[in-house]
Amino acid sequence: MAVRVQAQAFDYGAECAAFAAGARGAGAVVTFAGLVRDNAGALTGMEIEHYPGMTERALAAIESEAVTRWSLEAALIIHRHGPLAPGDMIMMVATAARHRAEAFAAAEFLMDYLKSRAPFWKKEFTADRADWVAARDEDEDALKRW
């Protein structure tokens, strides 16, 4: 079980490999990675602000709930903050469980909570403007299924 909040990039492939190697009691490993997507081809960058202290607390609580609820063998959350470029990886989660249904459900639960309950805020930059990303109603709604 691990939570990491960091400004520096992480090595997604190496993290996936290490996570799976450390979850050998599990039959199913699910990973999710979120990338900076450039919708209109105009994005020059993104800045992620967070609330040091609360971020770590919120992520640890979310992860702990997922581990208990789906009897996970292992779980991992990595989330970056600070400046990011289009195509950069923002974050990843990984879950390991006995069966696939639990691993998938736990990963989706972690993502739904991360989207709306972890204190991160994204600002997108184009050549001539900067905008805070608005929370989406569907992200808030997604929480209701858990």
């Binding site: 609330y51 202290g53 989330h79 309950r117 204190p119 805020w121 600002k123 805070w132 990303v133 929370a135």
Partner: protein, 83 residues
Amino acid sequence: MTLTVLYFAWLRERIGLPRETVETSAATVAGLVAELSAREDRYALAFSDLKAVRVALDQDLSDFDAPLDGVREVAFFPPMTGG
């Protein structure tokens, strides 16, 4: 009571600072927001639509009706956009 008050994202930008120390006798978060809004336009503007504002007390999500008794750190921010 002395509180550390934090602002994030566009609340930080509109109010113009990331944190400040506030002396208050407000009983609830809503009372604190009213005091701050009465101070200066930039606060009134930032807090003009509370549906767009979230609050955390000592790093746990809370709401505007919550009492401030025993609280040391209050944070205001927009809906979160992690992941």
